[in-house]
């Protein structure tokens, strides 16, 4: 009864105050909008400043290299040659451009070129599929007709013809994201359970400590080589492409240490108060782990997972490069060796794409963390 009365009083009061409250909220919202506009403004300003500095820097480098080329031509071949080189550089002809840090506009142009390239390749793929359609249909029909014999192993099934041209930039990015996700999941499934187990037992922690300390600082290149040695042997006699497997395992093993250490630490340092609660409530071991220890160490586990994800994304380039997996790492390496006029700009495009995807992945992890964990974290 008493509660009903208070509730009613409250609702009456709200109805009287409604216009006032709505006015306050609008003012508050305006203030909030102003606040977010300010934030946005500062971000835009800092981006502009960055691009401006980059532009000036690349221009200075460009001039330095251009002047050197002209001076060298003058020294080696005389005035006429120097003039020709100067004219060539001024004309923007691609054969004599200085090969240095590309300017922001060059990177932008390369990005557009890569996008155009994506559509060209897409069209290529469609054309390819149309061209091969009759042949593929024949092969399919052959496989169906001879299904019994194929199953018996008398005849080998024929492979359909697939697109074997170069991959577009988008394909490359997708391959890299797949590699990182596979590696991240591998790290998750190895590091979290092991972390929990060694976090729970001080003696196991001691037993594993040397192992962690030795393998934690191992470089991505060495991880790649280790994984290569093992996977190569496991794949012996199998001609299929194992570069993806090698690269995701290497990425996972290289990146899992942060999660392992953080999970172990989180589990080992659960507040004694919570442990006491678990003891007083007489929770079973299983319940204690899943209802008290894990929720309490979730923030640290997630911190570890975020570090793992960013490390995975970081070491990806080196590992894909070595493994010849068709991802961003190989793209960067091939562009570097290619030495075409826009190679440097493409490398920078890849760099920015890597950075932006890394940033988005971290936001994603942060969102997941805040959704499942009891304390909210502001991303930095």
């Amino acid at each position: 009864m008493g509660q009903d009365i208070t509730l009613k009083e409250k609702s009456q009061r709200t109805s009287i105050l409604k216009p006032v409250i709505s006015k306050i909220t609008t003012v508050f919202k305006q203030e909030k909008m102003f606040e977010s506009l300010k934030k946005l403004g500062i971000t835009v300003l800092s981006i502009t400043l960055f691009i401006g500095l980059w532009h000036l820097g690349s221009k200075a480098l460009y001039n330095k290299e251009a002047n050197f080329t002209i001076a060298k031509a003058l020294e080696d071949q005389g005035q006429a040659a120097a003039d020709a080189v100067q004219a060539c550089i001024a004309s923007g002809d691609s054969s004599c451009q200085p090969n240095t840090l590309p300017s922001p506009s060059q990177v932008w142009t390369s990005l557009l070129a890569l996008i155009d390239d994506y559509y060209i390749i897409k069209q290529d793929k469609i054309d390819d599929a149309i061209e091969n359609a009759p042949l593929n249909a024949e092969i399919r029909q052959f496989n169906i007709d001879n299904a019994a014999q194929i199953a018996a192993g008398d005849i080998e099934a024929r492979q359909e013809i697939e697109y074997t041209g170069r991959s577009s930039f988008l394909d490359i990015v997708v391959t890299s994201i797949k590699t990182v996700f596979a590696g991240f999941l591998l790290a998750l499934f190895i590091a979290v359970p092991i972390g929990i187990i060694i976090g729970l037992s001080p003696s196991l922690r001691n037993a594993f400590n040397w192992f962690i300390q030795i393998f934690k600082p191992v470089s991505p290149v060495v991880w790649y080589l280790l994984v290569f040695m093992i996977v190569k042997t496991l794949y012996i006699g199998n001609s299929s492409d194992n570069s993806f497997v090698i690269s995701f395992i290497s990425v996972g093993l290289c990146a899992m240490w942060a999660t392992l250490v953080n999970t172990a630490m989180g589990v080992a340092s659960v507040d004694q108060d919570y442990i006491n609660v678990a003891k007083v409530l007489k929770l079973g071991t299983f319940q204690k782990i899943f209802k008290v220890i894990l929720p309490s160490s979730l923030p640290l586990i997630f911190t570890g997972l975020r570090i793992t994800l960013s490390v995975a994304w970081m070491v990806l380039i080196a590992i894909e490069l070595l493994a010849q997996s068709k991802g961003l790492g190989l793209f960067v390496w091939e562009e570097f060796n290619n030495g075409a006029n826009d190679s440097n700009a493409k490398i920078l495009v890849a760099m920015f794409v890597i950075g932006i995807i890394g940033f988005l992945l971290d936001r994603l992890m942060l969102t997941v963390q805040n959704a499942v964990s009891f304390n909210k974290v502001e991303g930095v």
Partner: protein, 279 residues
């Protein structure tokens, strides 16, 4: 036979440097339905004593008997209200209590658990906050959740370790009344650890001062023969209250002085001077 009995209980914590005996020769017996308060300075080993009784710690020597049986680990028969609430921050008020109910009555089914949890939350007046997380509550509300959680397991004895220590005077008063109310309803045995003499006198049947550690022991007991329900405002003019209060405070002050005088031992300093001292 007493309900809870401590016989010559000693507790030593092993450290690298030396073994400090925190509690020595604790003898205590509490009858069924009794409300006993233990008063002591901070750092005198009160929490250690509580943990010995609730089974989180084992005595180094001596024995703790509950209903005549030695205490072996924790038990649902002894509910604990911790000093710092110890609510699980990722669970709501309802879930915190529900967790305890589930453990105490494992075979009852969801409906019973929920009803029981709701009942005890209502008992401490927190029904409107049932879905809130502990961090959204005030200190007093959190402590009430902790009380509800301890009670929801239907313990035979409730042990409270400075439950109101972190609260302001007004909230403290209301909560004291609430706890007394609940205790009065089904007369469970209660042990209250506190550093507030007035609180002890207001709530308990008996007060026992804990002489400060290391080597803390229990002092002489003070019986409080003031009829219940006690009126807080009238209590201040009650001659029995005044007398007991003065006696206990005097006793504690004397101990405090003793403690100070102990620390006045003279240290002999080595005769040292700077090596290359030039006047």
């Amino acid at each position: 036979m007493a309900y809870l009995e401590l016989n010559n209980v000693c507790k030593t914590y092993d450290t690298d440097v030396d073994n400090t005996e925190v509690l020595s020769n604790i003898n205590l017996s509490i009858e069924e339905g009794e409300f006993v308060a233990i008063v002591g300075f901070t750092g005198s080993g009160k929490t250690t004593l509580v943990n010995l009784i609730n089974g989180l710690l084992k005595p180094t020597s001596g024995e703790v008997l509950f209903k005549g049986v030695p205490v072996q680990g924790t038990s649902h028969e002894r509910g604990v209200v911790f000093q710092n609430y110890s609510l699980l921050p990722w669970l709501s008020v309802g879930q915190n209590v529900l967790m305890a109910v589930k453990e105490a009555f494992p075979n009852r089914g969801k409906a019973v658990w929920k009803r029981k949890a709701a009942h005890y939350i209502d008992m401490v007046g927190l029904t409107p906050a049932i879905n809130k997380l502990p961090k959204e509550l005030s200190g007093g509300m959190r402590q009430r959740v902790a009380v509800a959680r301890a009670l929801s397991m239907k313990p035979d004895m409730i042990i409270m370790d400075e439950p109101l220590g972190a609260l302001d005077a007004l909230t403290r008063g209301t909560l004291q009344d609430q706890i007394l109310n609940i205790w009065g309803k089904d007369k469970r045995t209660a042990l209250l650890i506190t550093n507030d003499v007035d609180e002890g006198i207001y709530m308990a049947d008996r007060i026992i001062p804990l002489r400060p550690g290391p080597n803390a022991t229990l002092g002489p007991e003070f019986k409080i023969e003031i009829e219940r329900p006690r009126d807080k405002t009238a209590l201040n003019d009650n001659p029995t209250f005044k007398k007991i209060r003065n006696e206990i405070i005097e006793y504690l002050m004397d101990i405090g002085d003793e403690r100070k005088s102990v620390s006045l031992t003279e240290y002999i300093l080595p005769d040292v001077s700077p090596k290359h001292y030039v006047a």
